[in-house]
Symmetry: C2
Subunit: 198 residues, 2 copies
DNA sequence: TACGGTCACTAACGAGCGTTAGTCAGCCCA
DNA sequence: TGGGCTGACTAACGCTCGTTAGTGACCGTA
């Protein structure tokens, strides 16, 4: 048999393996030597495909939080009544956390390791998402279709509920990402006291 | 004025400052020198009050997960119908995550840094809590008082919902731990499709 | 065949980590 | 007054980390 050939190392593959290991052991708990090892390469070779370990974390956080906001605005722009908007917003947020588990785990765990300005940008995006979702809930409450004492509390609950999917979801489990997202979007409506149509 | 006297360093205070810093920066992200600095002491002096950095993490995880189970069994043993049991179980779990934020953050973040047998013991306790809560939900579904497609999914949702309180709760916020716990226990009942009595 | 670019390598760095050893000041109690 | 315990200190250890420098093998192109 011929010599086994290693897959070519690209910046994309470096980021991918970093993502897996950061999600598993945390940013500080992951050594560059482990990322290199997973790629079948020595540590300094990584620097042909990245600028620093920190840059890996920053790019993960940056693209992920930007994606969350883009998702939200996409479904929000479709319009509709508060229950429809909330359902779609929760659904897409839940779905992302099932299909992008590693990204979510890293963002929610290693934010404190970020420096400015990336950290501030991330918090701003998080706040924007939070306030936008809260506005949807508040509107539903005003229209009498949602029933919660505190829209802020319900917003926290729904967001964190979806985030937590990343902590237990498995592609090999009994439910697909779509199924879980649907169920969780239903939970979101229940949390705000909106009775299902069916 | 006289010389300022430093509070006496005790193993309890070491653990307390470790808890704060672990929760803030993560286990691997916290250096013993930072814990020592917070106590106004040099790093090696810590070893008069602890055995190792790892032991700090282990004792945090151990006492916290044991406390969660003790809480659950206490309210479970009071008996009652599934809605009552679920409400109380969610309430005490939520309450703990508001009053023991740091512990919860560390347990949910740095579990992967544990070695056996502590890690296995922690997972076993987590599974026990998970299965016990799921059993309550399943019973409610069988009796027709809860309405969920998957008790497992609802159980995950409720547990993680409560856990997430640790991520945003503040003692200085508008709601007390008791108020948040009550609201979240209500969310739990809504998630399982159990209409409120009032 | 000669050239230039790509990229993995070895070697080495400075810094920081957790931890241990050994010293010494302060205190309680006989 | 003296002895022993407590506990903080300095110094130093071995190790691992992220990162840089410099070398050379490979490969497509002229």
């Amino acid at each position: 048999m011929g010599a086994t050939v290693r897959d070519p190392v690209t910046s994309h593959r470096v980021l991918d393996h970093a993502l897996t290991l950061f999600a598993e052991r945390g940013y500080h708990g992951t050594a560059l030597s482990e990322i290199a090892g997973a790629l079948g390469v020595r540590t300094p070779s990584l620097y042909n495909h990245m600028r620093s370990k920190h840059e890996l974390l920053e790019s993960i956080v940056d693209t992920t939080t930007a994606g969350v906001l883009a998702d939200f605005h996409a479904v929000h722009d479709e319009g509709g009544e508060p229950p429809d908007v909330l359902y779609r917003a929760a659904r897409v947020y839940a779905h992302r956390h099932a299909t992008h588990r590693r990204e979510a785990l890293v963002v929610n765990r290693d934010t404190s390791s970020l420096d400015e300005p990336v950290r501030g940008a991330m918090q701003a995006r998080r706040r924007e998402h939070e306030h936008a979702l809260r506005a949807v809930i508040s509107e539903g409450v005003e229209r009498g279709v949602f029933h919660v004492e505190s829209p802020a509390l319900a917003s926290f609950a729904i967001r964190e509920l979806c985030v937590s999917i990343a902590r237990w979801f498995s592609e090999d489990g009994p439910l697909s990402a779509d199924q879980v997202a649907d169920q969780y979007a239903g939970f979101a409506l229940r949390i705000v006291g909106c009775a299902p149509d069916s």
